[in-house]
């Protein structure tokens, strides 16, 4: 079983986001990046599968920002092979670019299963996982919480999460792409000493990316921060008035059914 996990960096929301003066993009120079959370879970699930059933886990990432630090951490977790896709742009690749590049790389890697976070908080143009699956003509299941070996006829089982922690048991023929929401267990902590050791020993393989970025299929008009809410809007008046206002708000926000 060869599993490939895709990891991406996303803006770290702990730091305030800064938009360019033209309001056409984030100011990437002032943006801190962090590992996309569900990608972290995807790697964890891949390692759990390897620990359970044996096999080989590769991780692929675009060479952007401080990705090396992330890759050291993942290598320390037990990833066997680390591939960096060259990337020379100021901003991270969008989902379509990720899907396009990977759809060319994956067939060369002898992979049975691709796991990728089923979401990233910057995605609004395309979604990398399902669109990679379509490009590869592989089956796809997203919003997955946990994967197991052993479906009928050599298929694997993915548990797709629905509201109220209900799971749909889905059997998938391999090769396949799975969009992971959460791993069967939370991603393990990697002690600093192990990361340091991995940084000494890990070897990166490299892969090329097409030189040109394709134009996005929709036109981005404006990127901006929503009006800041720093303090609650206070509802005043008699109890009945206040209660009525609140009910109206709940209805407007779609909370009440």
């Amino acid at each position: 079983m060869n599993i490939l996990a895709v990891v991406r960096l996303v803006p770290d929301l702990v730091e305030p986001l800064v938009v360019t003066a033209e309001e056409d993009n984030l100011n990437w120079d002032q943006t801190a990046f962090t590992l996309n959370e569900s990608d972290d879970h995807a790697v964890e699930e891949a390692i759990l599968l390897k620990e359970k059933y044996g096999g080989h886990v590769s991780v692929v990432a675009f060479d952007f920002g401080d990705i090396d630090q992330v890759l050291y951490m993942l290598a320390a977790k037990g990833v066997d092979r680390v591939i960096k896709i060259s990337w020379s742009h100021d901003e991270p690749p969008n989902s379509l670019e990720v899907a396009r590049t990977l759809s060319r790389l994956v067939p060369k890697l002898n992979v049975d299963l691709v796991v990728i976070g089923c979401q990233s908080h910057t995605e609004f143009l395309g979604m990398a996982g399902p669109q990679l699956a379509v490009a590869l003509n592989w089956p796809y299941v997203g919003v997955v919480r946990g994967v197991q070996e052993g479906g009928t006829a050599g298929r694997w089982t993915a548990f797709k999460e629905y509201p109220g922690a209900v799971l749909a048991q889905m059997e998938v023929s391999l090769p396949a792409v799975l969009g992971i929401l959460t791993a069967s267990q939370p991603p393990r902590y990697v002690p600093v000493s192990r990361i340091r050791a991995a940084a000494q020993s890990v070897r990166f393989e490299t892969a090329d990316t097409p030189a040109e970025i394709e134009e996005p299929p929709v036109k981005i008009q404006r990127v901006y921060l929503p009006p800041a809410v720093t303090h609650a809007e206070m509802l005043t008046g008699s109890e009945a008035e206040v209660a009525q206002r609140l009910v109206d708000i709940l209805l407007a926000r779609g909370v009440l059914k």
């Binding site: 962090t34 939370p186 902590y189 002690p191 600093v192 000493s193 192990r194």
Partner: protein, 752 residues
């Protein structure tokens, strides 16, 4: 004939020879096991103990007097103290007596043909040994009654360990030795009296065989029988017996006595009686007050259980007697967690004993020991050191716990809640997962600017800390401290976003790599700034900065505006083992070094600085507060660093009447935040949180208005506990700084 010790009276040659052979066997066995013990200790890693010198020797002698000869730490329990005194001095004198008797017989008599134990010396010898025997007997009886009748909880251990078979063996054998000792003494005296009256004594030694000489000696010794008051008394029991019965009974009991004594000797190295030697060694040998460093090359677990321990830790574990004094004061144990310091040490000892002595018939199976060594137990410790100040044999429980935590971290077997915190610390340098840029946001609410120590020289570099920077409640105190510093005209500054969590609790969690990372980052910032001294309001940061950063005093202490970089920091190279780069470790056996006399310390806790500022008149009290307060000693300020007086002095100076809680100073009761516990989720089933126990203790004093703290974590923990107990209207939790601010200037806005 001069009375002398009737050695081997009534003992046939075969018995004598057999006894020597058995004795030799016992010695061989003991030597063999001792060698195995030493080998076991030597398997430990290096511990940076201070080099041997006059000071180390002096301290060793002091500890010998304090902890061995008059075991100071047993005095809090008079029953145990008297028991131990009887056992200890009885055993010491009897062992000494046996040694003298051996020298008398096998050296002086055998080689030189003279006796040592005769005349006056013999009479005193007999008296002292009889008294020692009585002392031992009293000690034994007290011990038996305590262990098997009174059964204090600290002697027992939960579930599987039950009562230790070792105690039964040791007490049983010693009782047998003592009682048979008195019996054979009585028999010999009675026989001697009979022999004397039978006038066998008339013969001259030359005419007698060896047996005759021994009879004569016994008869002569009987004439000084009153010097053996107990033996003399026992002799009266045997008055009715004839000579041959006396001889037969004597020989049988003599053998029982000898065999029991040998059995006890055999038991010493393989039971907890080995504390006769190991506790002694542990007390007199120097140790490091530092946590052992964790080298990535050292395997973190041995045999699936044991973490990497230093040779010193292995030794101290084998000194444990399972007395349970640590367990009695342990907040985790009292709160109802699986952890007890005694359990951890005792179970570790069990694992080590199997290494020393694979045939050791342990009461508990290894898997059961693991209940005390598993992660639930190990993560429960608050590292408050309450156990360590109680331990009669100077075991360092908290270091042991940290040693156990390191492999857990390595295996990602973290306590609930820790993972996110450690990741935050890796990524952002603070446990809150907040932007490092927001670290100094608390300064925004101040009417003055706080100097940036990265950019200009300051006298006091204020290392603010995490809770103090990010926690809403603690931040108010931080602002108050800034106002006080300003009122005192202090030249101070902070490191702004370059400060990171000091790493104290990270280190206690066992994430040594992360600690090194944080330390190095902080040292880098400290190195590129110019300062004379460091001040912090967080006792946890205080401890690690003062004792574990290897900071050296800036020299010379010049004017604050000095442009050169007077200080130097060492230990910055992450590749070196920290211990090698660190300055000479202070003190030993977990006792922190005191500040050097009047010399200004390099690292100050704010309470120390406040007191200094009050003493020097830089702060003046405008309004005496006239409040009844009680003060809680933070573990890392009190027990870890012996700062007890400064905060109290500040409180008295501002007109507070300090009422002490029953548990104060070194007996202070942990709030439950230490050792990384503040980040771990509470588990259900806990009896009572330590913070609540502590708040109840404060409430029990009656008419105390404030529970004063000197630690941001205490503030948070106790305020929550007061809320949980619904005692908001009866007790206010307040920081020393907030009270001081009210007293020095009513204008300084402070926490309510």
């Amino acid at each position: 004939m001069v009375p002398s010790r009737p050695t081997f009276w009534n003992i046939p040659a075969w018995s004598e020879i057999l006894q020597y052979l058995l004795g030799a066997g016992v010695v061989v066995f003991i030597v063999w096991v001792v060698i195995r013990h030493i080998r076991c200790w030597r398997k430990g890693t290096r511990e940076p103990v201070p080099r041997l010198g006059a000071e180390v020797l002096k301290q060793a002698l002091e500890r010998l007097a304090r902890f061995v000869l008059t075991p100071q730490r047993l005095q809090s329990d008079p029953y145990a103290f008297i028991t131990h005194l009887g056992l200890f001095w009885g055993m010491v004198l009897l062992a000494l007596g046996t040694a003298i008797a051996t020298i008398d017989w096998d050296v002086f008599h055998l080689i030189f043909g003279v006796r040592l134990l005769q005349g006056a010396f013999y009479r005193v010898f007999e008296l002292v040994l009889d008294v020692a025997g009585v002392a031992l007997l009293i000690g034994l009886v007290l011990a038996v009654v305590r262990r098997y009748v009174l059964r204090p909880s600290r002697l027992t251990v939960p579930q599987f360990f039950g009562e230790s078979w070792e105690s039964a063996v040791i007490l049983g054998l010693l009782l047998l030795v003592t009682i048979t000792g008195f019996l054979i003494e009585g028999l010999r005296i009675q026989a001697g009296l009979m022999l004397k009256s039978a006038a066998v004594i008339a013969n001259t030694p030359e005419n007698m065989g060896e047996e005759g000489v021994r009879d004569a000696t016994a008869a002569a010794a009987a004439s000084v029988a009153p010097w053996s008051p107990v033996g003399n008394l026992v002799a009266t029991i045997f008055r009715g017996l004839d000579a041959s019965s006396l001889r037969q009974a004597h020989l049988v009991l003599w053998w029982i006595h000898a065999l029991a004594a040998f059995a006890f000797l055999l038991a010493i190295p393989v039971t907890k009686a080995n504390h006769l030697i190991t506790a002694f060694l542990n007390v007199i040998l120097p140790s490091s007050s530092e946590l052992p460093t964790a080298s990535p090359t050292i395997k973190q677990r041995i045999d699936g259980v044991l973490p990497s321990l230093t040779w010193r830790q292995r030794l101290e574990v084998s000194a444990c007697t399972a007395c349970g004094k640590c367990q009695e004061v342990c907040p985790a144990h009292r709160a109802g967690y699986a952890f007890t310091p005694k359990g951890t040490v005792w179970a570790t000892r069990g694992v080590l004993m199997r290494e020393v002595w694979p045939w050791w018939p342990a009461t508990a199976k290894a898997s059961e020991e693991h209940v005390w060594l598993n992660k639930d137990a190990i993560w429960s410790c608050y590292t408050c050191r309450a156990c360590e100040v109680q331990c009669p044999v100077l075991v360092r429980h908290t270091n042991l716990v940290v040693s156990y935590r390191r492999p857990l971290v390595d295996e990602s077997a973290l306590a609930d809640g820790l993972q996110e915190v450690l990741q935050n610390l890796q990524r952002y340098g603070n446990s809150f997962g907040q932007s490092p840029r927001k670290r100094a946001d608390w300064t925004k609410g101040l009417p003055f600017a706080v100097k940036n120590a990265n950019k200009e020289a300051v006298h006091y570099l204020w290392f603010v800390g995490d809770y103090t920077s990010y926690d809403a409640r603690a931040r108010e105190v931080t602002q108050t401290i800034a106002r006080i510093f300003n009122a005192a005209g202090l030249d101070y500054g902070i490191l702004y976003e370059k400060e990171k969590n000091a790493g104290n609790d990270v280190r206690r969690i066992g994430e040594e790599g992360l600690f090194e990372f944080l330390r190095d980052e902080n040292l880098r910032a400290l190195e590129s700034a110019t300062w004379q001294a460091i001040v912090t309001s967080d006792p946890h940061s205080y401890h690690v900065l003062r004792n574990e950063y290897g900071l050296k005093k800036p020299s010379p202490v010049g004017p604050p505006a000095s442009t050169e970089k007077p200080h130097e920091a060492v230990g910055k190279n992450s590749n070196t083992v920290a211990s090698q780069a660190l300055a000479d470790p202070p003190g030993g056996n977990g006792h922190p070094a005191k500040h050097n006399g009047d010399a200004a310390p390099l690292v100050w806790h704010v309470s120390e600085l406040f007191w200094e500022l009050l003493k020097s008149g830089k702060l003046t009290v405008a309004k005496k507060l006239d409040r009844r307060v009680t003060y809680h000693d933070p573990c890392y300020l009190g027990r870890y660093n012996e700062v007890y007086d400064a905060p109290r002095a500040v409180l008295e100076a501002i007109g507070c009447h300090v009422v002490e809680m029953p548990q104060h100073r070194e007996n202070s009761y942990c709030c439950g935040a230490g050792g990384g516990r503040i980040w771990m989720k509470d588990r259900p089933g806990i009896r009572e949180r330590p913070a609540e126990t502590r708040v109840k203790e404060a409430l029990s004093l009656g008419n105390v208005e404030d529970l004063v703290v000197a630690c941001p974590k205490d503030l948070v923990m106790f305020q929550d506990a007061v809320k949980s107990l619904g005692a908001e209207d009866r007790l206010r939790v307040i920081d020393v700084a907030s009270l001081l601010a009210q007293a020095i200037s009513p204008d300084i806005k402070s926490q309510d």
